[in-house]
């Protein structure tokens, strides 16, 4: 019976011009968004590959030189693009694509695509996630707003009730009739995306599990929107009122709440300004060992401790070049300073995330948005992970260079030149993003919130059924 109702609803919708026009618009937007995303990412990927190859060539092409000069010469860590970023680009445009790796400094990522855009970019980009997160819910509202009000207005509700039909079955049938076209559109998009993305070797290995989970996340999100729409339609008597209420709900959950929660999070747990952050880091760095300054108190203390540890009277008696050794110890001190301050930043990020999650109790958009970005590896969590991986690589790079300097030269020998083979021996930066299991583990609270919304909205729908 539920199937019969669902198919009848679907058939009725198909025969309505409003539905057909809406679906055609959504499909056209999806095709356009997919094409624009592909075009953008193909171009970015090409630049990324060329820049990465170029940076490595420049690094390995260095002549014989002092390792510490090479450390200052530096190289780049490039953030790879992943296939699902084509569906949800997330914060990629704002988080930068590469980090310059050099001695003594942990640099921020740079070359943010958003910085290259004009003011018109404020209107947002037409990307598949925009259609999936904003437009399809709007389509659902346009289809569902009069599900029950239409029956009341055209007088078919009484005839339905006279058939001895359970109202819950009627509701489930209507639910199915709305979900069916949404399922067809979403499945179509993801099937096309799978076929399309699996053939793109340039974009890295496609995670089918992540794709399927992302698909299910969107279906959950749509189920919640359908439930809300049906609840409103069941409780109101006129289609016009139902539509106005649902559009207000859409504005609230898709536009207002995300922005309000972002502002709230930033107000309660503000990030330090770039200048304040740099000042704090510099202050802490100066309080410890500076590898470049042998005259500082910290350097003198370290020199004394090293002589005592090795039981020698002068630095030249040490079995290694103390300059390289001090450079490495200075690097380790600076790394600790950066670790301390970046940990603080991460704490702020975690606190802000908690505010977002609390806001998700008022908007199912937020958990769906976070999960979509996380599964596409385009969220801030993945960006932090990449930045940490780049920092670890930088530290290993410095360790290798300072060790070579310390072990292959004597104290005061700043004229030492390492063989250019050393540059090749140091492996290139390679980043492996969090696995899908790790993503799910890191975002379990978003899953819980999404399911909470799903069950609560179904519960609300069941309760409302009696009031039809």
């Amino acid at each position: 019976m539920i199937k019969k109702i669902a198919l009848k609803e679907f058939k009725e919708n198909l025969r309505e011009g409003r539905f057909r026009v809406s679906v055609i618009i959504v499909l056209l937007l999806l095709i356009m968004a997919a094409w624009l995303s592909y075009d953008y990412y193909a171009s970015v990927q090409q630049q990324h590959s060329a820049a990465k190859e170029n940076a490595r060539n420049i690094w390995v092409s260095q002549d014989d030189k002092n390792p510490h000069s090479a450390a200052h010469y530096g190289t780049y860590a490039f953030k790879p693009k992943y296939p699902l970023a084509l569906i949800d680009p997330g914060v990629d445009k704002y988080s930068g694509i590469s980090i310059f790796l050099e001695a003594h400094n942990r640099n921020e990522s740079q070359y943010m695509a958003a910085a290259d855009q004009t003011g018109l970019a404020r209107f947002g980009d037409l990307t598949p996630d925009f259609i999936l997160l904003f437009i399809i819910p709007l389509l659902i509202i346009l289809v569902a707003y009069n599900s029950f009000t239409r029956e009341k207005e055209q007088g078919t509700l009484q005839l339905l009730k006279s058939q001895g039909l359970s109202l819950w079955k009627l509701t489930l049938g209507k639910w199915g009739g709305i979900f069916l076209p949404v399922l067809i559109i979403t499945t179509g998009l993801f099937v096309i995306a799978t076929i399309f993305l699996s053939g793109l070797s340039d974009f890295g290995q496609l995670s089918y599990i992540a794709l399927i989970i992302m698909f299910l996340v969107y279906l959950c999100y749509y189920a919640i929107i359908i439930n809300i729409s049906l609840v409103v339609s069941a409780l109101t008597k006129q289609s016009g009122i139902s539509l106005v209420i649902l559009l207000a709900v859409w504005i609230l959950i898709c536009l207002a709440m995300p922005k309000a929660s972002s502002n709230l999070a930033d107000t309660i747990y503000p990030y330090p300004s770039r200048q304040a952050f740099a000042t704090e880091v510099e202050k802490d760095k100066k309080a410890g060992l500076d590898g470049h300054n042998p005259w500082s108190q910290a350097a003198k203390d370290f020199e004394r401790e090293t002589l005592e540890e090795y039981g020698v009277d002068s630095l030249s008696q040490l079995p290694f070049n103390f300059d390289g050794y001090r450079m490495q110890k200075g690097e380790e001190h600076e790394a600790q300073v950066y670790f301390k301050h970046y940990t603080k930043l991460k704490e702020t990020y975690k606190q802000q995330t908690k505010v977002y999650q609390a806001s998700a109790l008022l908007s199912p958009f937020l958990p769906a948005r976070f999960l979509s970005m996380a599964l596409a590896r385009t969220d801030y969590g993945t960006h932090w992970d990449f930045a940490d991986a780049a920092e670890n690589y930088r530290l290993e790079l410095q360790r290798a260079l300072n060790t070579d300097f310390a072990e292959n030269s004597s104290y005061g020998d700043w004229a030492y030149r390492a063989d250019k083979k050393l540059w090749k021996d140091i492996p290139d930066f390679s980043y492996i993003p969090p696995t899908t299991a790790e993503v799910m583990q890191n975002n379990w609270s978003s899953f819980v919130l999404l399911f909470l919304w799903l069950f609560a909205s179904f519960g609300g729908l069941k309760l409302t059924t009696h009031k039809i």
């Binding site: 019976m1 019969k4 109702i5 009848k8 058939k11 009725e12 025969r15 309505e16 055209q154 007088g155 078919t156 009484q158 005839l159 339905l160 009730k161 006279s162 058939q163 001895g164 039909l165 359970s166």
Partner: protein
């Protein structure tokens, strides 16, 4: 088949129906006459379970409508004053849908035959209902009652607004159903139609069933006189 036992309905201070007692057996057509607000539609709505009774019982095939709503509806078909169907579906699709909801499975051919038997022109069977007249929609309602194999029919002013020809056709269909043993409770303003198709006629006033007569025991003029007398009394009371 249909039985009201001390059935009452009140809205705050207003008594819409007071202690109604009536019984409609198989093959009988009970017509309820009365002015607007007399309680005719309230009676139909109580039998349909659309509104809860304040006191008393409405029974269909000995099943209490209030406590056995789903089960009791299996035996009835309902045609309101203005039967509304889904405008974007054809007559056949509407019939198939509502039959399916009632748990009846009919082949396409059977449904087409039912629609034809109920007087719907063949050329309209596959047309969308948005092109149907009111009379055509009522015919789909009759076809639905037949398809469901309803043992009781509840009609709320079904011929109101129909042209004389359509009204006549509708009465003919009711006659057929009566002969097939269907119990019918019909609210109407049409004295002629009540006399013509009814087996029993009840005259209601201010929520009370004032008179019940056998259709065969009165002539149309006597019925009219009785009706007007009852209404005059009402007018006198109101004054």
């Amino acid at each position: 088949m249909l039985e009201a036992i001390n059935l009452s309905k009140s809205y705050n201070d207003h008594q819409a129906l007071a202690d109604l007692n009536l019984s409609v057996k198989s093959g009988e057509v009970f017509c309820l006459l009365g002015a607007n607000g007399a309680g005719k539609t309230t009676t139909i709505n109580l039998f349909m379970g659309f509104i809860p009774a304040t006191s008393g019982q409405a029974k269909i095939n000995d099943l209490d409508v209030a406590t056995q709503s789903g089960e009791s509806k299996r035996y009835i078909a309902y045609i309101p004053e203005n039967l509304m169907l889904y405008p974007n579906l054809t007559g056949l699709e509407n019939l198939d849908y509502f039959c399916g909801l009632g748990g009846k499975r009919n082949s396409k051919e059977q449904l087409e035959e039912l629609l034809t038997q109920s007087g719907l022109q063949e050329s309209f069977i596959h047309k969308r209902v948005n092109s149907y007249s009111k009379g055509m929609r009522q015919k789909v309602g009759i076809a639905l009652a037949r398809a469901r194999g309803a043992k009781a029919l509840l009609l709320d002013e079904p011929t109101s607004g129909l042209d004389p020809k359509a009204s006549n056709e509708f009465s003919g269909l009711l006659q057929e159903m009566k002969e097939n043993g269907v119990a019918t409770l019909m609210a109407t303003h049409d004295l002629f139609r009540a006399k013509d198709t009814g087996t029993h006629i009840g005259i209601m006033r201010e929520g009370e069933l004032k008179h019940t007569v056998s259709a065969n025991s009165v002539s149309l003029s006597e019925l009219e006189e009785l009706y007007l007398e009852t209404m005059k009394l009402e007018k006198a009371i109101l004054q």
